[in-house]
Symmetry: C2
Subunit: 246 residues, 2 copies
Amino acid sequence: MNKIIMSSHKTTSTAAPEKFGFRDVKREVFERIRNNKWGPGTQLPGEVELASTFGCSRATVNRAMQELSDDGIIERRRKGGSHVKLAPIRQVKFEIPLVRVEVESRGSEYRYQLISSEVMAAPHWLQVRMDLQVASPVRHVRCLHSADGAPYQYEDRWINLFAVPRAEDANFSKIGPNEWLVNEVPYTNAEVRFGATNADHTISQHLKTIDGDPIFLAERSTWHAGVQVTFVRLYFPRGYQMIAKY
Amino acid sequence: MNKIIMSSHKTTSTAAPEKFGFRDVKREVFERIRNNKWGPGTQLPGEVELASTFGCSRATVNRAMQELSDDGIIERRRKGGSHVKLAPIRQVKFEIPLVRVEVESRGSEYRYQLISSEVMAAPHWLQVRMDLQVASPVRHVRCLHSADGAPYQYEDRWINLFAVPRAEDANFSKIGPNEWLVNEVPYTNAEVRFGATNADHTISQHLKTIDGDPIFLAERSTWHAGVQVTFVRLYFPRGYQMIAKY
DNA sequence: AAGTGGTCTAGACCACGAC
DNA sequence: TCGTGGTCTAGACCACTTC
C-alpha cells in the first residue's frame, strides 16, 4: 500500500554519498511540494533530471513519481511532464472485513442468527435495483449479527439464483450468506452506498432500538462476470461508526 | 491506482510469441487464483519460476506480484514466498473532493454561506476530542453548502488556532474554512467517522428538514505534524448517499 | 516531430526470516 | 544458513501528446 504519510527529511548531515532509494526520492519530492517550493500546478523536472539530481537511476525516480501519482499528489502525462495537482485529492481507503471477523477482532463474541429465508421471483423494485431482465428467481435472506449478545448488524439480502444457482440449497442457518458468498464467489466487483435512515418497526425490533431511531445504512451491490450476484442492505444500530483513515 | 478489476483472459488464440507485460502476468495469476487453480493458502511459484513460465524478466513478475499484494489478493514474505490470502480483504477506496467541486461536478450551482464564526477557548469536550493539552484558542465556524439552492451540507467546524494561527483572521465569508485550510495546510493526515444521527432543531432548520429526521453524519479529525488542526462535523440531509466502488 | 513518461530487461546486491 | 522477495542499475524501445 502506498503510504501518503511521510515524515522527516533524510538526514543530510555529514558527507557520505548517500544512496537515494525510491522512498527517499519520493519523500524528498513530496517535501518540496509540501514546503510550497513546488507549488500547485508547478511543472516538475523530468525523470532524467531528477535522476541526476538525486544521483540514482531513472527507474528509481520513476517508481517514486508513480507512487506520488497514485497517491494523488501529482499528475503525469507523456510529453506533458509531471505537475503538482492543483487540488490534492483526499483518498480514503478502508477495509470491509467479514462481520464475524470484525466483531471477533474487537474481542467480542460473535453470534449469527437466521431470521427468514425464502425463494421467490424478484419483485419489480429489485429487478430495477439488480438490473435483472425478468423476474428471475432470487433468494431473500434476513439475518442478524450480534456482538456479545447485543444486536450489531441487521442484514437484508437478495441473491440472484440465476447467477449463483447453488445458493438455492445453501444452508444459511449456521453460516451467514455473506460468508458463504465470499467463499463461493470470491473476487467480485461491488459498489457500496452509505446513508442514513429511520428504523421502521421491523428494524427496531431486531436491533432493539426504538421506532424512528436513526440508522446507519450501507447498501452493497455485487457483480461477478458482469452479472449482479447480490444486493444487500445492512442496518447498524445507533452509535455504530465506520472509521477510515487517510 | 492499482485496479482490482480485471477481466477476460489474454487472447491465447493463434501462435505469435506473445509478450507478457506486468499487466498480463497480474491478470494471469489473478485468473488462476479466481479459478481456484491456486486456492486460498496456496504457495505460489517463486518469481524466477513465474518469469520463465511467462517468458518475461523477473522485474516484470515482481511488479505484477507487488500489485496483487497491494490489492490484498496475495501475501508475500521473504524466504516464505507468496501465498494466496485465506480471506480476501475487501478494500474500498473513495475520494473526498471539496464540497464545491462535488456539487459543481454534478452540474449544480454551488453556493456557500457563512452562518457564524467566533474565537473562543476550547470547551472541555473539544479538548478531549482534539487532544488539546489546555483550553487552547479555537475558532468555531458554522456554515452551509447548497446545491441549486437546496441545502447540501451543514458544516460545524473547530480550528485549532495554536496549530494554524493565520486562521484567526481568515475571511470565511466567501470561501469556506475547508477550502481555505486545504490551501493553507495541505497534505494533512485525517481520520473520518461515518454514522447516523437525528436532526436537532439547529440542524433541521439549516438543512430544511424536520426535527428528528435521520441525518448522515461524517466527522473528520485532521492532523499536521502531529498536531490536530481541525475537527469538523458534516451533516447531510436525508437522501444523501456516499458511493464507493471496489 | 520531438519530448516525456511507460515499460521491459538482464544482471546484481541486499535483507529478511523460515528452516 | 540460504532461499525468496526488495530494490537498484544502465540501457533500450515504445506510446502518448503536445508543440
